[in-house]
């Protein structure tokens, strides 16, 4: 059986490209250009889904993505919106949310239980006794949701693009097309977007049996297509409006983030269903849905139908239906006044009877409840919303088209901050006060007459042009008056209910009445309690009726009820589209490839990639073996680590010394050229935030290093303070420009000496000394450091020469058995040296007194950041102190982990371990811990509780640990 009719002018299907697909096991024919729903409907298939809550059979309602009755899965993807998704050859489709198929769905029994499931029923049961809740919850969760997600669905990387334009016009109907043309004529760049596959809006289906709309569309479209200032994007919706005119345009292929200078919203209106019993039966659809089927897809919505209407649009629908041979039994007009003379006559001339002041009291289902058999028509009292059932008439039909009114598609306007007012002439919310740079035109603006919509589009574009600095005369016009397009209360009360307001969530009129009775009588509470508008179509077909119902319950005018907030997204938007191609920048040191080639186990260290340790292929080394070997190399001969990630900042200018003096805790004004000092940074509250080294290279030039993870922030803060303190200082961030490596261990001097003219002897270069000179032929900055070993040289060279110098040092150290070492060994080595790591051994609240760093704080300076807070803190008793500790010799129990707690004799938390490692060199377990100050002195004993709860004794001891070697008897 096919409902496909002869080729229509402007139809969207391609009859040269027939295709077949499967729906619920049945082979179906369609054409390229069909949506899934149009193809199914053309084949007489009417049950397209089951409802969310009651599992009622559903067909087409809006056929425009304003309801989600037809949700399907193709086995790969789920929740496919059949009304708008293009059908493709060989698709295998099933409706979601069914158990055993859309026709036989085993869950349809829930519909019979519905009287026992009143609004908010789940709040009222299942919780007594408490232990039963998990049982019920399990049942509820099984019933929840729509489609089943496919865990094997492939990850899609969708590009996200940026675009820029003067005017973004959303909606390519009569108003939008006119607006775009006018703006473009002013030389403005225009992006015009429409969610439909083709532009035109209602011009492409609302014909009322004649061709005026189609002619208008052809003219406008050809002008738009010929205009190079206009970029028309169809099959794409504006996802939301964000600050400063940012509008993401969502296409199937990805998102374009449009940054516009101004936005014209010409999004039109959503048709709203009149509410009567069984208005959800398959075959009962909105008038505009029926028109779309007819004109875009050349499909008869039904063979013999009734139009129920509360505006003139129903008459237009009737004419469109009649024009393709649908037998229209009657137009049931809920208004006592009826439509205009001319339109009424036209309908009557088509042989359709018109019943004014009547309603459909209920639609009567077919025996299988999968369609409509007849409708019960009664006189209707517009004031009371009651049908006079004593005078009912039954009209047999297989379909109903419904037209009762519209709601503005104003989501973008709301998101932009538009104040909306209610216009009683059109019975619609319309923009009352628009934000800067945002304009509205057409039906969303309450303008319905076709010619007026075009004028309104031109008016909006002219205003936008003036807003953008053009001087354009405003064409004044008065919108032609129309018969009220929306009915103020298109609801028919029915004692048995099933008169649906929200088809996504199965919400009936009585649910609102009952919610109000329970006190949920403002729109926001009602929304939350009934869940109206919370389904996947977000109230597009239901919010307006909900507001009207609540207004009537509260006996308030509609505008006093207000609207709920329309939040992004306009249509649900795929996670993959939004996530897109994420950018995850990484930094690589100059020696990166060398590390990889030599078995470096590369780890992310912030944004950097660093080797944790080296385990070359075939070496068979475990991580801990590698770390112990690397550590031993440093202790016994020589090792080298890539330290390029250190922050490196040059501080230059006549105030350089004075600046560091204020910035850091220590003294720099009197520092000698060629010497280095520890540079500890506090925040204003006195918390330690970084420590590094400052070298004075010249009277007015310092070279400062920071912790790797703080490089960017320290540089940024320096820049801020230079500006704030108005000092003569120039800052240069050399973090990336310089490669750095530390050669450490007793033989490190020999290795470095082999490649440099600098005198690196103890006499020539004592601890903390700094020199410049060539290393391996490259200009280098060399510093005698002692972070990982007593004897160590930190060598900084230009980044691009980093690999060369690294290789040269490795070569020079070959005979000494040089080994590269990674960050894991570095952590152990510094622990053996007794150096704590800021933000590893300290946390976001640690002050220098607690960190045992008093010696780095020059309280006698006039000022440094955090000093005033320290003056307060030093008056307060200290309650914890960072100390180095060792476990007992020969300890072989469960080793405590970092962040295990120190527990005092009263079983209270007394501190925690911040670092711990086994040192193979010392053959001891060593670490850092926060302990009460009285337990931080050398030799104090304290208890650590391990992961498993065992207590381990530890002894505080003063760093470095080398004196332990004596006890080792070496």
């Amino acid at each position: 059986m096919t409902s496909r009719i002869a080729k229509k002018r402007g139809e969207w299907i391609n009859r040269d490209k027939p295709l077949t697909f499967e729906y619920e096991g049945q082979q179906v024919q369609g054409y390229e250009g069909d949506t899934i729903s149009s193809a199914l409907w053309a084949n007489g298939i009417r049950v397209l889904g089951r409802s969310f809550k009651y599992h009622r059979a559903r067909g087409l309602l809006s056929f425009a993505n304003h309801d989600v009755n037809a949700l399907m899965t193709d086995g790969e993807d789920t929740n496919i919106r059949a009304d708008v998704w293009p059908v493709s050859h060989d698709m295998k489709l099933k409706a979601v949310n069914t158990d055993g198929g859309v026709i036989k769905d085993k869950n349809k029994y829930i519909d019979y239980l519905s009287p026992f499931l009143p609004v908010g029923f789940y709040y009222k049961t299942f919780y007594k006794p408490k232990r039963m809740f998990p049982f019920w919850e399990d049942k509820i969760r099984k019933a929840a949701g729509l489609g089943e997600v496919n865990f094997n669905y492939p990850r899609h990387i969708r590009p996200k693009r940026h675009a820029h334009c003067d005017v973004l016009v959303v909606g390519a109907g009569a108003a939008g097309l006119s607006a775009a043309l006018t703006a473009a004529a002013e030389g403005l760049s225009v992006i015009l977007v429409d969610e439909n596959r083709q532009a035109g809006g209602s011009l492409s289906y609302d014909y009322a049996g004649d061709q005026t709309s189609a002619d208008t569309l052809n003219t406008l479209l050809s002008e738009v297509e010929a205009n190079s200032n206009i970029r028309l994007i169809t099959d794409a919706y504006a996802g939301g409006y964000y600050t400063d005119h940012l509008v993401p345009i969502v296409e199937k292929s990805g998102i374009t983030k449009v940054r516009a200078q101004s936005v014209i919203v010409a999004t039109g209106v959503f048709e709203q269903p009149p509410v009567f019993r069984y208005n959800d039966l398959p075959g009962v659809m909105l008038g505009s849905a029926a028109q779309r089927l007819v004109h875009r897809y050349a499909v008869k919505p039904f063979e013999k139908g009734v139009v129920v209407t509360a505006n003139d649009h129903g008459y237009r629908t009737a004419l469109d239906l009649a024009s393709v041979g649908v037998e229209v039994v009657a137009v049931i007009d809920m208004r006592i006044s009826g439509a205009g003379q001319e339109l009424t006559q036209k309908v009557k001339d088509s042989g359709i009877s018109v019943h004014k002041g009547s309603c459909i009291y209920e639609a009567v289902p077919t025996g299988d409840k999968l369609g409509v058999k007849e409708v019960v028509v009664c006189p209707y009292n517009e004031n009371t919303a009651e049908a006079d059932t004593s005078r009912s008439v039954r009209l047999s039909c297989d379909g109903v088209a419904m037209s009762a009114g519209w709601a503005p598609a104003a989501a973008l306007l709301y998101q932009a901050g538009t104040k909306m007012g209610y216009d009683y002439d059109v019975e619609q919310f319309v923009p009352a006060q628009l934000p800067e740079g945002v304009f509205a035109a057409g039906k969303v603006n309450g303008v319905f007459d076709l010619k007026s919509r075009q004028q309104d589009g031109r008016r909006a574009a002219t205003e936008a042009a003036n807003y953008l600095g053009k001087v354009v005369q405003l064409e004044s016009f008065k919108a032609a008056s129309v018969n009220r397009p929306s009915h103020p209360y298109p609801i028919v009360n029915h004692s048995k209910g099933k008169n649906f307001v929200d088809f996504d969530e199965d919400i009936q009129v009585k649910d609102f009445i009952n919610a109000a009775k329970e006190g949920f009588d403002n729109i926001e509470l009602m929304k939350r309690f009934t869940t109206v508008g919370m389904g996947p179509s977000q109230g597009k077909h239901s919010n307006m009726n909900a507001i009207r119902i609540l207004a009537r319950i509260r006996q308030l005018p509609v505008e006093k009820i207000g609207t709920t907030t329309a939040r992004p997204f306009f249509h649900p938007t795929p996670i993959g589209h939004l996530g897109g191609r994420g950018f995850h920048p990484h930094r690589y040191t100059a020696m990166h490839q060398w590390h990889v080639d030599h078995g470096g186990e590369m780890m992310e260290a912030g944004v950097w990639m660093r080797p944790a340790y080296y385990a070359p292929a075939g070496s068979g080394l475990t991580a801990s073996e590698a770390v112990q070997q690397e550590t031993l190399a440093v202790r016994e001969s020589v090792g080298m680590i890539d330290g390029s990630t250190l922050g490196k900042i040059e501080v230059f200018g006549s105030d350089a010394g004075a600046f560091l003096e204020r910035f850091y805790t220590g003294k720099f004004a009197d520092q000698k050229v060629g010497g280095s000092r520890i540079a500890m940074l506090l925040d204003e509250a006195g918390v330690v935030s970084d420590d590094g080294v400052a070298v004075r290279m010249a009277e007015d030039q310092f070279y400062v290093s920071t912790n790797s993870s703080n490089a960017a922030t320290v540089y940024r803060e320096m820049q801020r303070y230079v500006q704030l303190w108005k000092m003569q200082v120039t800052l240069v961030n050399l973090t990336g420009a310089m490669a750095a490596m530390t050669v450490a261990g007793p033989k490190s001097r020999d290795v470095v000496a082999a490649l440099t003219e600098i005198d690196v002897s103890e006499a020539g270069m004592g601890k903390g000394a700094f020199r410049t000179g060539k290393v391996a032929g490259v200009d280098a900055r060399v510093m005698r450091v002692s972070f990982v070993a007593d004897l160590a040289f930190e060598i900084h060279v230009p980044y691009r020469a980093g690999l060369h110098v690294w290789k040269a040092l490795m070569e020079a150290g070959k005979s000494s058995g040089i080994r590269p070492f990674g960050t894991d060994a570095q952590r152990l080595l510094r622990l053996e040296m007794g150096h704590h790591l800021v933000s590893h051994d300290t946390d976001g609240l640690t002050n220098p007194f607690e960190a045992h760093s008093e010696s780095l704080v020059a309280m006698d300076k006039p000022f440094f950041i955090g000093q005033r807070s320290l003056k307060i803190l030093e008056k307060k008793p200290l309650n914890k102190k960072l100390t180095t500790f060792v476990l007992d010799p020969g300890f072989n129990g469960e080793m405590p982990n970092e962040c295990n707690l120190v527990i005092d004799s009263a079983s209270r938390i007394a501190g925690r371990v911040t670092s711990i490692s086994y040192s193979g060199y010392l053959d001891r377990h060593i670490g850092f811990a926060f302990v009460p100050p009285e337990q931080s002195h050398d030799g104090a004993r304290f208890q650590i509780r391990t992961d498993s709860g065992a207590m381990v004794s530890a002894t505080a001891c003063n760093a470095p640990f080398f004196h332990l070697l004596e006890s080792r008897g070496e």
Partner: protein, 222 residues
């Protein structure tokens, strides 16, 4: 060329493609990735070229402008603009008091300035390690629309303007110039981000049917 002292920050990122390498300005450089006609066609569609090896001189400080002028350098008058020297070197003004000069391969200006500049009196040398790229082709707008949030049409990149912005998550300097008669985009970023940016840009470029071109494509050295 294994013994070149200097390495392009991007070297390891393009090593996998086995370009024909050579030494330029003491730096190991990818001279070509493919046959000349293939690269020529790429450069019309969408291409990227690593030119990190060009010599640069950076200077900053309250007296930097004076110092450069004394050295006979023509300076851009406003921040965020650039001006070519008679020899073809570029001078970019990155801030009120910061400048970056980049030579063409045949010039020696940057090296000279690096050798003569002293760190005193409000003039401070800025050591550079830029990863530098040339992007060309008719699809460049499509590429930048994916990696850059700002509008590169119109005034932003008008003649002799430059922008400091974010490209694919990395801070970068960007300008448009005409090179060998072709309009190209120039990108500079911190070299440590170079391999990431090269890989990220190249992957999008290849998706769009473009690819890499070697240094010789723009600067014929033979």
């Amino acid at each position: 060329m294994q013994d070149a002292v200097l390495m392009s920050p991007v070297a390891f990122a393009h090593a996998l493609r086995k370009p024909v390498s050579g030494e330029v300005n003491g730096m190991e450089t990818a001279l070509s990735f493919d046959a000349a006609d293939v690269e020529a066609s790429r450069s019309k569609t969408l291409s990227i070229c690593d030119v990190s090896n060009l010599n640069r001189f950076g200077v900053k400080g309250p007296q930097a402008a004076n110092w450069l002028q004394t050295a006979g350098i023509k300076l851009p008058e406003t921040t965020n603009s650039w001006t070519p020297q008679d020899n073809g070197s570029l001078v970019m003004r990155l801030g009120n008091t910061e400048f970056l000069l980049e030579d063409r391969p045949e010039n020696d200006l940057a090296r000279m300035l690096n050798d003569t500049a002293v760190n005193e009196g409000g003039v401070h040398k800025v050591m550079r390690n830029d990863a530098a790229f040339i992007v060309s082709g008719e699809l460049t707008p499509a590429l930048f629309s994916e990696v850059c949030a700002i509008d590169l049409d119109g005034a932003t990149l008008a003649e002799n303007r430059l922008v400091m912005t974010v490209i694919a998550g990395v801070s970068a300097t960007l300008l448009k110039q005409t090179l060998n008669g072709q309009s190209v985009y120039r990108i500079w970023c911190d070299g440590t981000f170079g391999p990431y940016l090269w890989k990220t840009l190249l992957s999008i470029i290849e998706e769009q049917g473009g690819g890499p071109v070697g240094f010789n494509f723009y600067y014929s050295l033979t």
